[in-house]
Amino acid sequence: MVAMDGAVLTHLRRGVVEYCVLALLRSGPTYGRDIAQKLSADGILMAGEGTLYPLLARLRNAGLVHTTWQESSAGPPRRYYELTAAGSGAVESFCRTWAPFRDAVDDTLGES
């Protein structure tokens, strides 16, 4: 596990991880906890599973995701999230922007 600077990591996560959340939803409606577990598995994109929930609240406020409840036979009813059309558009836009951005950063860092 590479060592990473905490403050830098937090800074980088802002504005990016929410698009990762949207990207995960491209495959279809997903439970909050499943998203949380996928994204926090390596501890890089998210600090703890719980940090997903304020993020989802923001995405919902911005109209990029919407939520529905589903009864579950084993356990409490669970909320699951899906992309809205706007959310879909947002993630497309991010994908278009991210690759050149990432390459530019890598190139710059590699130049020293």
Binding site: A3, R33, G50, Y53, L55, G89, A90, T97
Partner: protein
């Protein structure tokens, strides 16, 4: 079951207090989601969670401070519905829940203590007010604890001090016409009253000490691993 669920309840209470300054709708939504997360995790276990299992569930969530951070710093960070990246100006460091640092309990303790003990000075009165405001505004204490620290304890300490001063003044006025020496300031001839008043002051101080300890524990709980830690792959 109750021990373990009280860990979860305390986590949720801590989170709820930290979210006090967040947008009410966001606060409600985050609390709901985190509750659901814990319920689902417990249901998946298929049995009552042990201490260790619950601690694992809560640790996976992150500390209440980490979770709340996302809701607190976010007021201006809404991603726009149009396909434009959010125009955020991130602060140099992540937003911390306010008035939850380790400095709060000791500062509150001394402000309340000095303020209550020396209530006849301007500076102590200001200190008392500052202490009361600090305790009331901080998310480190429950409402009950705040009432005890900001109202009951200062009264327990200040009243006896004021009463002693009043009795002392009456005593010296009465005795200025006699040759008797000045007796115990809080006595007036009754050691029982003196003991009672001293007892009240001690009780008030103990209450403030308990407040300090509770606040320090809450702060530690909220900020354990507040910095993102390198976690090993699960």
């Amino acid at each position: 079951m109750s021990e373990v669920m009280s860990d979860a309840q305390r986590y949720l209470d801590d989170l709820d207090r930290l979210l006090r300054t967040a947008d009410p709708a966001d606060r409600a939504e985050v609390m709901l989601s985190v509750r659901e997360h814990i319920d689902v995790a417990v249901a998946e276990l298929g049995h009552e969670p042990s201490d260790a299992e619950m601690r694992r569930i809560l640790a996976d969530l992150g500390t209440p401070a980490q979770v709340a951070e996302g809701a607190l710093g976010a007021a201006g960070d809404r991603p726009s519905p149009a396909p434009v990246p959010p125009a955020t100006s991130p602060p140099a460091s992540p937003t911390r829940p306010a008035l939850a640092g380790a400095w709060v309990p000791p500062v509150a303790f001394f402000a309340l203590l000095i303020g209550s003990l020396f209530l006849w000075g301007v500076v102590p009165v200001l200190a008392l007010i500052a202490g009361i405001v600090l305790v009331c505004a901080s998310p480190l204490w429950t409402t009950a604890q705040k009432v005890l620290a900001a109202a009951v304890a200062p009264l327990l300490i200040a009243l006896p001090v004021i009463l002693s001063a009043v009795m002392y003044l009456q005593l010296t006025r009465v005795e200025s016409s006699s040759d008797q020496g000045i007796t115990e300031s809080s006595g007036g001839g009754s050691p029982i009253i003196a003991l009672l008043l001293v007892g009240l002051v001690i009780a008030g101080i103990c209450l403030l000490v308990a407040t300090w300890i509770a606040g320090a524990r809450a702060s530690a709980r909220l900020h354990a691993d507040a910095e993102p830690v390198d976690t090993a792959p699960r």
